[in-house]
């Protein structure tokens, strides 16, 4: 328990940050926002999942994936397929030439459910698929790339190309997967109407709790030896390799974890928004996810969440009043974050703390520098 407190929660300051986040999303938002805004925040929080995944993958691992949208999409589509099948009961689709299959299949002259849709009639399978399908996909990409030592820029570009391929594929195979319109008009989950306010509040809380959970999982990973190795690989990959580690396994693993995180976000997105479309799979959403992470602070799990919230709040607010200005602002933000605040919001927060009270700063430095060997000595003594 002490280990958990000290290392995973990051001691007092880490725990404070975590609790503040929990209070903000679990108490403050539901208290001060109406259901419409709350549902929006819920949607933004689903983007925080890939952002958090990028902290692990990119911030610590140094592996920039421009294809997190792919996994977000895979998770979202898995969930959407289940909901669509439920929405396409023979009664609901009686006017179709083939009742009982999703409407877009009927429009494309399909007369029976394609084989890969059939297992999605089971909710259990769907929940598993949300996690396993992206993980397998990530494993294949990861194994192919990392075993061959494709990294850095090349990996970024290749993941981007994969995002393009998947988008073109989804758009092109509209009979099987809904095309550019996506999978729409999802209404019930086991007969329970997911479009009601009540359902939205419940999904919001599920979303928050899962988000807090993945932050904890992320911290567990980062505070283990694996976490140190991740940083080590980012800075001196050869040294790690020549210390007897098979670097590719570690990269594949963290890539899979990141893909699962993103996919959970995607599945929650589908549940809260009520549809899934290829516009969340392509290049632009994928890069936006990197931005959420960069703005929040690429080394801070919690920062990434604030990053996702801030950018999306800004997007909504600005696009209502100054749509022109928004792109300028967004572009400028990108550049500013990269050039002046490489550690994003989290970094600004720390610097700000520096200036505000010297004492606090000192405490912090002591705290950051200390942990491990100190413990070691205490234990020995």
């Amino acid at each position: 328990m002490n280990y958990f407190y000290e290392k995973v929660m990051g001691g007092k300051s880490g725990l404070t940050g975590f609790i503040i986040l929990a209070v903000v999303i679990l108490v403050a938002f539901p208290l001060f926002l109406d259901i419409f805004r709350l549902n929006l925040v819920g949607k933004y929080l689903t983007y925080a999942f890939p952002a958090v995944s990028l902290v692990l993958l990119w911030g610590y691992g140094g592996i920039l994936s421009l294809g997190q949208g792919v996994f977000f999409g895979l998770g979202g589509y898995a969930m959407a397929m289940f909901l669509k099948l439920e929405a396409s009961s023979p009664e609901n689709t009686a006017i179709q030439s083939t009742p009982g299959i999703p409407d877009f299949m009927d429009w494309n002259q399909l007369t029976e459910l394609p084989w890969f849709w059939v297992p999605f009639e089971s909710f259990t399978f769907t929940l598993l698929a949300v996690i396993i399908v992206p993980a397998i996909f990530a494993y294949i990409i990861g194994a192919a790339m990392f075993k061959r030592r494709v990294g850095g820029v090349y990996f970024a570009i290749i993941t981007q190309v994969i995002a393009v391929i998947l988008t073109v594929l989804i758009v092109g195979q509209q009979g099987y997967i809904g095309g550019i319109n996506g999978i729409t008009d999802l209404r019930t989950l086991h007969g329970w109407d997911i479009t009601t306010d009540n359902a939205k509040v419940i999904f919001y809380y599920i979303c928050c709790l899962l988000l807090l959970s993945i932050v904890i999982v992320g911290r567990l990973i980062l505070t283990s030896k694996f976490g140190s190795l991740l940083l080590a690989m980012r800075d001196k990959e050869d040294r790690v390799r020549f210390s007897g580690y098979d670097v590719s396994h570690f990269k594949i693993f963290i890539f899979c974890v990141a893909s699962i995180f993103s996919a959970i976000g995607g599945a929650l997105f589908t549940l809260q928004v009520g549809f899934m479309s290829p516009s969340f799979v392509g290049i632009v959403p994928s890069i936006e996810m990197v931005i959420f992470c960069a703005v929040g602070g690429r080394m801070s799990l919690i920062g990434a969440i604030y990053g996702a919230l801030l950018i999306n709040f800004g997007k909504t607010a600005f696009s209502e009043t100054f749509p022109q200005l928004w792109l300028f602002l967004m572009g400028g933000l990108f550049i500013a974050v990269v050039m002046f605040f490489p550690n994003g919001l989290a970094g600004i927060w720390n610097t700000y703390g520096h200036y505000i009270t010297d004492r606090l700063k000192q405490l912090k430095t002591v705290f950051v520098m200390k942990p491990s060997p100190q413990e070691a000595k205490q234990d020995l003594g």
Binding site: I221, S224, K225, F226, S228, L229, L231, A232, D235, K236, D238, R239, V240, R241, F242, S243, G244, Y245, D246, V247, H249, F250, F253, M369, K370, S372, P373, Q374, E375, A376, D379, L380
Partner: protein, 248 residues
């Protein structure tokens, strides 16, 4: 010559070519048990390439490298390390964002699989070993310091420590005293003499005084081939070596 030998390391007929240029050409080199073997040679002689070949960073075009009678040329890098070969790079290669303690911990030879590293626990045994190594490399007072703040010489020692913690049978050091002060050189020489007990060490070095202080055996490389080999004195007096080093 029989395939199996008593040598720790046996390199035979090793060749590697880059786009036709043979950086190492038909090389034969043997390192005995408990031997501190130094490879010297002018720039471009292929010294670093030899180390690259041994540790698997570069793949050989032909020839064989046997370590304790295990063929290394076909093994992936991490397996070579796990077999007992440690290698220090020319420029100090440490994790600057981790503390000295963490640097050593990361190099600790347990928890090398993904799962193992996730479940790795910092036990008393681990800590004792780390502190022991830190004492050896004269960094026991800097355990908490981020490694990036160490001096150049200390970084070199840290990297050596990161290898020592794995107890390799063969330790390969690429210019371990480059950029060190005179005092640091002396300390390093002491360190090398201490750690070469019970293992073989292969060192690349330019500093002849330093070589003289540590070497059991010296091999001179020139243009990918062995020019001379033997103890320091013999090598120093070899006319071919003098010609290469002094030129005309």
């Amino acid at each position: 010559m029989s395939a199996n030998t008593d040598f720790t390391l046996a390199i035979e007929e090793l060749t590697v070519s880059f786009d036709g240029f043979k950086a190492v050409n038909d090389l034969n080199l043997y390192v005995d048990k408990n031997e501190l073997h130094v490879v010297i040679g002018p720039n471009g002689a292929g010294k670093t390439t030899v180390l690259d070949l041994i540790c698997g960073k570069t793949k050989a075009t032909s020839g064989s490298i046997k370590f304790l009678n295990k063929e290394l040329t076909t093994m992936p890098e991490h397996k070579i390390v796990r077999a007992g070969v440690g290698r220090k790079f020319q420029t100090p290669s440490i994790y600057e964002n981790l503390s000295v303690f963490e640097n050593l911990e990361v190099s600790y030879p347990y928890g090398r699989s993904v799962l193992g590293s996730l479940l790795f626990k910092r036990t008393e045994k681990v800590e004792r070993k780390i502190i022991k190594i830190a004492q050896d490399i004269m960094l026991e007072d800097s355990l908490d310091m981020p490694a990036g703040l160490l001096s150049h010489g200390q970084k070199q020692w840290l990297e050596i420590g990161m290898l020592l913690i794995q107890d390799p049978q063969l330790l390969m050091l690429d210019e371990p005293v480059a950029g060190m002060s005179v005092k640091e050189r002396e300390q390093t020489a002491e360190l090398l003499n201490k750690i070469s007990k019970g293992r073989s060490v292969l060192v690349i070095e330019h500093d002849m005084d330093f070589v003289e202080r540590i070497a059991d055996k010296v091999t001179v490389l020139h243009q990918g081939k062995i020019l001379a080999a033997g103890d320091m004195k013999k090598v120093q007096n070899d006319p071919k070596v003098i010609e290469v080093y002094l030129g005309h």
